[in-house]
């Protein structure tokens, strides 16, 4: 089998994400989409803080590191002076919805042509599995050892629904990136449907930006290490619990990019 080197991936880059994490998959989809759309040379990635910080070790595009939560503001600053650039960030749920919610909402409301890929694994991953604004009720984390109490912490924040209240964004979609486990008699197989849908969402989001709109895609992923589950159980949990709390669907597609064949 011949493996094609993606120009948007650093040659020889090694995946240092935990086994079972879908962060690497998302970065691969971004690299593939940049090439499919022919925009690698004018792409600028803005780094967030969390496991997503590591993205600059894999993607071979221009890069600016943002403080925790501020990626949408940095992206806006870049896009204002370099309107021809393709500007995107991978943000986690803690980065985007806890410390950075204000920056996200204002960038979205202004309809700045930038793209936020939000990886939602419902915990703070890099700091060791603390409660995030997306942690479901009852979920045990290191800062909620008896489970998230929604009376104290409120219910999890549904970011796509929240952003849908604004007229600024042009593309809002939630997909599940964790592949669904299929239990066979002697082993477990994984569905490829989630990967295909996630990839198409990445392409659509970047297309929307190229057409002048703000795009936001939430990816329901896993963090089996901090969830303290096996990889297979974490994928099951994503489909059985995460997808109930955060129903995957297309919220908005102003330019109809999802239906355009590439």
């Amino acid at each position: 089998m011949q493996v094609k080197q993606l120009s948007a991936v650093i040659p020889g880059a090694v995946n240092t994400y935990c086994p079972g994490c879908e962060h690497g998959l998302l970065l691969k989809f971004i690299a593939m989409a940049l090439e499919e759309l022919g925009v690698t040379e004018k792409a600028i990635m803005v780094g967030s803080v969390g496991c997503s910080t590591l993205a600059f070790k894999f993607l071979n595009v221009d890069y600016v590191q943002a403080p925790h939560g501020r990626a949408p503001a940095i992206m806006t600053g870049i896009k204002e002076v370099e309107p021809g650039a393709i500007v995107f960030a991978v943000q986690g749920d803690g980065d985007a919805l806890s410390i950075g919610l204000q920056e996200l909402i204002h960038a979205a409301n202004r309809g700045i042509p930038i793209t936020v890929f939000m990886y939602n694994n419902m915990v703070f991953g890099m700091t060791g599995g603390q409660m995030a604004p997306t942690t479901p009720e009852g979920m045990v984390t290191t800062t909620t050892p008896f489970g998230r109490n929604t009376k104290a912490s409120g219910p999890p924040i549904n970011s796509c629904e929240l952003l849908s209240c604004l007229s600024g964004p042009s593309y809002i979609r939630r997909v599940i990136i964790a592949p669904k486990p299929i239990q066979l008699k002697d082993r477990v197989m994984y569905s490829s449907k989630e990967a295909n849908e996630s990839y198409r969402a990445v392409v659509s989001a970047l297309k929307t930006q190229m057409m002048g709109g703000f795009s936001y895609v939430e990816f329901l992923g896993t963090c089996n290490v901090n969830w303290k589950m096996s990889i297979t159980d974490s994928k099951k949990y994503a489909h059985e619990v995460s997808a109930k709390v955060f129903p995957p669907r297309l919220f908005r597609d102003r330019f109809g990019v999802d239906s355009i064949e590439s």
Binding site: I44, I74, T76, K79, E80
Partner: protein
């Protein structure tokens, strides 16, 4: 008016992007820039943007700066506090940006009267991890205009944040100025992130997880810092027995006091730091070598006086004006009797 002059100087010197959040007493700078933007005073002035907070402002500046464009904001103490996070990242990432800080009365909400109480903040503790900025302090409107241009140049030459520390007196007073000599700056943006465009990628980063690697980066940043030349001004220093040390508007008061004292037979002079960071310590040592009394005049409870003391290594007297009280020449003269 000072605010108008600073805004015009910025546009004439080649400002490309202004990002700001209104805060008294800095808002007139932003309002003047809104008019200059609308009137197309300079085609290079492409972006005028009202942010949602000073946290957003500093990050907008960082984005534009990382893309190699001349970007500026104006704010006041409470806003600068919010920007400290971003300044720390900008310092390590070597992103050029310019902040005009119109010092108001603090701490807390304080008041909107002029003070110089942000001195320690801007010169000693601007963000976590030991980040810093070049700090310029104008004592006249003309100098404020020149320093805006200088700030653009320095921020790109050293790829570092630059702060112009001024106050509500400079911003609101009237003086005649010469605008004709304000030539546009030209800056090198070859290092910036605008897409790799067929070449190697540009990495504007502040994370270095390996201590060995980070040590090298910090040594490099420190070497760069040492190459920045301090600036100062002397007013009748040569034979001064009584030497006032003051910056910004306080230096104007000190000069007035020194002139009156000379008429009374007291040989007084003024040493005025123009760059507050780096502090012109060696220049101060020279200026103070023949003085028997050294008096710091500040619109705060005594902040720069520590730097003065450090360099002259003897007792330094202090004439403080706090709470937003305008410095008073008579009070300074009284102190010298």
């Amino acid at each position: 008016m000072g605010a108008e002059a600073i805004a015009e100087a910025a546009v004439d010197a080649g400002l490309e992007a202004y990002f700001g959040y209104p805060i008294t007493p800095s808002s007139e700078i932003m309002e003047n820039l809104a008019l200059l933007y609308a009137s197309h005073r300079n085609d290079k002035f492409k972006v005028y943007f009202q942010s949602a907070s000073e946290v957003e402002s500093i990050n907008l500046l960082m984005g534009a700066g990382a893309a190699g464009h001349i970007a500026m904001t104006a704010t006041s103490g409470p806003g600068l506090s919010l920007m400290a996070e971003g300044i720390s990242y900008a310092y390590t990432s070597e992103i050029p940006l310019v902040i005009v800080n119109v010092n108001r009365g603090g701490p807390g909400l304080g008041n909107v009267a002029p003070e110089q109480s942000d001195y320690l903040f801007v010169t000693k503790s601007l963000g976590h991890g030991g980040s810093k900025a070049i700090v310029l302090a104008p004592s006249s409107i003309q100098e404020a205009m020149n320093q805006v241009r200088m700030a653009f140049e320095l921020s790109f030459k050293f790829r570092i944040p630059v702060i112009i520390l001024t106050d509500a007196i400079i911003i609101h007073m009237l003086e005649s100025v010469d605008q004709d000599h304000l030539l546009p700056v030209s800056v090198d943006s070859g290092w910036s992130a605008r897409g790799r465009s067929g070449g190697e990628r540009h990495l504007i980063n502040s994370i270095y997880l390996e201590p060995d690697e980070f040590r090298k980066i910090k040594v490099k940043l420190e070497e760069k810092w040492k190459a920045i030349e301090p600036l100062s001004d002397c007013f009748m220093c040569d034979d001064a027995e009584t030497l006032f040390v003051a910056y910004g508007i306080s230096a104007r008061i000190a000069m007035e006091a020194a002139t009156e004292l000379r008429e009374k037979g007291i040989r007084a002079g003024v040493f005025r730091p123009i760059t507050l960071n780096p502090f012109p310590g060696k220049m101060l040592m020279d200026a103070a070598s023949n003085s028997s009394r050294i008096i710091a005049i500040e619109m705060n409870e005594g902040q720069m006086v520590h730097d003065v003391q450090y360099w002259v290594r003897r007792d330094v007297e202090l004439v403080p004006f706090i709470g937003g009280i305008y410095p008073d020449t008579e009070e300074v003269i009284e102190k010298c009797k």
